[in-house]
Structures are given as C-alpha cells and as structure tokens.
Amino acid sequence: MQLIVNIIVLAAIYALLACGYVLIYRVSRVMNMAHGELSMLGAYLLFATASLFATHPLTAIASSAIMSIALGTLVYVLLMRKMTGEMVLAAILTTIAIGILLRGLIVLVWSAAQQHPLEALHLSNPPIEIVGGARISTCAALLVLMTALVYGGLFTFLRFGRWGVRMRAAGQNALLASQRGINLHAIYALAWALSTFTGSIAGMLIALDSGLDQTMVVIGLKAFAPALVGGLDSLLGALAGAFIVAGAEVLAIHYIDPLLSDVVPFLVIIATLIVRPWGLFGTQEELDRV
C-alpha cells in the first residue's frame, strides 16, 4: 500500500513538472531545458520570501509564485522572443544556456548548501496516516491536491475559447499562424508564464517537503520522460506518462536496485523512442516529412 502512495506522490511531482514541458512544446516546439532550473528558482524565491514573511506563510507562497511568473515571462520576453521562428536546435540550446546561467546565479545568491524553507516558515510537515497503514506527509498530500487542481484548471482553460487549437497551430507552423492572426508573442509569453508557474509550485512543494538544494535540477530533467511518453503536446499524455514513469521507478527501486532511480526515466525514454516516438497521446508528427 505504501508503494501505491509513493507512486501517486512521485506521479504528482512528475505530472506537475511535465505539464510545463508540454505547454511550451505545444506552442513553440521548443524543449525548455531550463524548466528544472526555473522550478528550482521558484523554490529558492520561496526561501527568500519565507525569511521576509516568516509569520505569513500564505503571503510568502503567493509572492514567490507571482515573482516566478514574472520571471518566466521575463525570460521569454528578453531572450526567447528573439528566437521566434528560428531553428529549433538554437532555441533549445538557448534554454540550456539559460538553465546554466540560472544555476550559477542561484548558487551565487543563496549558496550551494541545503536550505529548509519549511523551517523558515515555522511550519511543520507531519505525516498523515491513511488506509492500510501507509503514510504520506502533509506537503506531499498538498502536492497531489495541487496537481489535480492545476490539471483541472489547464484542461478547462484549453477547451475554452479555442486556445487549444491556436496553441497547437502556433506550434506546427509559426509563420503561418502569425499570418492567420495568431499573436505569437502573446501565446508564447502565456505558455512560458503558465509553465513557470506550475514548475515553481512543484519546486516549492518539493522544497517544503524534503529540503532544497541543487539536486532539484535532476528531478526536472527526469520529469521530461513523462512528457515524452505521453506525447509532447498532450496534457493528458503528461498525466498518463507521469503515472507510468513513476510506477516504473518506484517498482524498480523497491524490487531491483535503489540506485536505478536516476536511470529508469531515461530507459523509459529509450523504450518510448523505439516503440512509439510521438508518445501515447501526442500528435503523430510526420517525423519523416519534408
């Protein structure tokens, strides 16, 4: 039973991080390799605001969320905007560079030591007992709840007002989309803002649950696997993929070897690319088309 709880928690983490990848890919075909670092930045911002608003945890969380949305939009406006329509490889490398820059800046500002925003907020994280003797920490439970809320919100938003079709159109043919009246910059900025928002919520909750240091970047990278498995432009796929990868990882750790935890997502990636590169629910892009 505890295994199932662990899978659900890990799946929630992966799902929340993966939808960030999906949102940006859907509109611009760019794999945002800085997603892990941006989520980590959100968590560090929480740590900063926690010191300021030690007695008002909600204010701290809200303000760091707003700051990270602003940062995500800023990253887009200042840097990625210039790459609109350019070669995808160049855009991906730009995101890698942004990630590296952020990592360096974070260590400069906050040092590489592990931080504990939970303590800074004077909150505690007691485990909750659920059915079958399994336990889940409060923050992890919150995380699962937030994931459900976020996905619910995103699904509604994309069905409403034809955003979903316009975002996909922008991803398929940026120039044509612009010529058909779709304001590319607005759509890209929106995708980046949403992606950074969901990523930093994930980052904050993970940090509250288990401390904050540079290893969060690895989780961000591993979270790409669920996005790929489900289909890079499908939110539903990200959710499904999160469960698959989380399940595989938890079971592998439990039954085979604990050290496999970092490799399992990449093995899943390889398997997906061999069997069905466009993922479970992704648009079957004509990978061979001119």
Partner: protein, 265 residues
C-alpha cells in the same frame, strides 16, 4: 480609396542582400492584380513585405512605404496586418499539417468573434469550396495538392480579409485543378468584392484572370499595364509566353543576345 499602394519599397535580407530595389505599385478596390516574374525576382518578398515579416532571415523593409487603406503598415507584425484585413496564402507550408481541415479553418478566427460569426465564416468557405466540407475531419497533411491549395485559400478567407495575397497559386498543380481554382477566385472577387494581389510565375495563367499586371525582374518592376495590353506586348510574348503562337521561328532568332528587350531591368 486605393486598397494598397507601395512606394519605392526596398527589402534587405541579412543586412546585406537587397531583394527588392525600390518598387512602386497600386491596387484598386475589387481588382485582381498580378505580379509576374521568374525565380528570384523578388515577388514573394514583396508579398511578405505587405503581409509582415517575422524576422526570419533577418528580413526588413529598409526604405519606402506600404500603404494599406491610407495607413502605413511596413514592418508591422503579420498578425497585426491580419487584424487590419490582409490575408496571405503562402507558397509553401500553407496549411497546418497536423490539424484537421475544420480546425485549420477555425484557427484563424479570433476568440473575440462569437460562435455565430465562426459558423458564418466556416459556411462561407464551404460555399466556395464544397470539397472542403466533405473533407472536414481529414488531417490537412494528408490532402492532395489541389485540396491543400483550396484549404489554404479557405483559411485565408476565414480571416475575413479585404485584401487577399496569393503566392504562386498554380505551383505544382495540374492545369485542370488550376483552372478550377481560378474560376473560384474570380467568383470570390465577384461575390465578396475582395481585392486580390497574386504572384504568378506562369504568365498565361495570370493573364487569364488578372485585370492589371506588373512584371518584376531582379527586384525591380520593368513593365506594367492592363492585362490585355500586356498580353500582346512583344517582349512579354518573347520572354514570358514562349513566343507568338502560330509562327515558326528559328532558334537563331530567339536567342537572347540577338533580341534586346525594350526595357532595361
């Protein structure tokens, strides 16, 4: 009021290559104007200058003006121009390949327009292109060339434009299909009063449907006039229509260095 006027337009790529060197043209309301010329003449660049550059290839308008209904629009973004009423049917990548036909048609319709307006525009497109109605749920990438061109025209119409820019309508299509498309284009102009500026490599096709023509070479306009007059122009016949029909000419007479064009490009 004149729908479109271009004055001394100059377009430069990569800050070092001048594709269009100071052209001027006018388009009156409900006219079909054709822009003729061979490869590399700068015709597509002109259309894209009107519709708006996205910054690819570092393209920009460096001199001159593009005036749409009295407003200067050069160096605007494409989506702003679409909102003003200009729709471009590009030469390549003219549809969204992984969306269905129906999705291709509703994507251009802004969210602000209500559901009724959306339905009205869709029906308008199906009225001119009934075949698209049958193919409503087909993925656009799987359409044939002619169907794809119809979809491209349809999605441009869905923007409710006042000026339609068509780039190379006939490229890669069978003559039967091209004739059908030209007929529909004339119908659209007749029923909607739409102004059309089309770029064509095939002069014969352009003369069939256009009212007024401009001939471009090396980024400059070298000749212009009403279609009937141009059709009989000896230089146009020589270099764009394959010579006068019914006459046998020896190759020696047709070779270019013997026959000087009366304009200098």
């Amino acid at each position: 009021m004149r729908v479109l006027e271009i004055q001394r337009l100059e377009v430069v790529y990569h800050r070092s290559i001048t594709a269009v060197q100071g052209i001027s043209l006018k388009v009156e309301p409900a006219q079909i104007v054709a822009l003729l010329g061979t490869n590399g003449a700068g015709k597509t660049t002109t259309l894209r200058a009107i519709s708006g550059f996205l910054g690819l290839d570092d393209a920009r308008v460096t001199d001159g003006a593009v005036i749409f209904k009295g407003e200067r629009i050069e160096n605007s973004a494409p989506h702003e121009n679409t909102a003003r009423g200009i729709a471009l049917v590009p030469e390549r990548d003219k549809v969204f390949p992984n969306l269905t036909v129906a999705e291709n048609l509703i994507a251009p319709i802004p969210r602000a327009a209500g559901a009724a307006e959306r339905r009205r525009r869709e029906m308008l497109v199906y009225q001119f292109f009934p075949r698209l109605s049958e193919l409503r749920n087909r993925i656009a990438g799987l359409l044939s060339g002619g169907e794809r061109q119809m979809l491209a025209l349809g999605s441009a119409l869905a923007c409710a434009p006042q000026l339609l820019l068509v780039d190379e309508l006939s490229l890669g299509l069978a003559p039967v299909v091209v004739n059908d498309l030209l007929r529909r284009l004339a119908e659209i102009r007749h029923e909607l009063g739409l102004t059309i500026l089309m770029v064509e490599q095939s002069a014969a096709i352009a003369f069939e449907v256009a009212d007024y023509c401009y001939v471009m070479e090396n980024g400059k306009i070298v000749l212009d006039g009403m279609a009937e007059r141009l059709r009989g122009h000896p230089d146009v016949q020589e270099f764009y229509l394959g010579g006068k029909s019914g006459e046998r000419r020896s190759y020696r007479d047709i070779r270019q260095y013997r026959r000087r064009r009366r304009w200098y490009g």
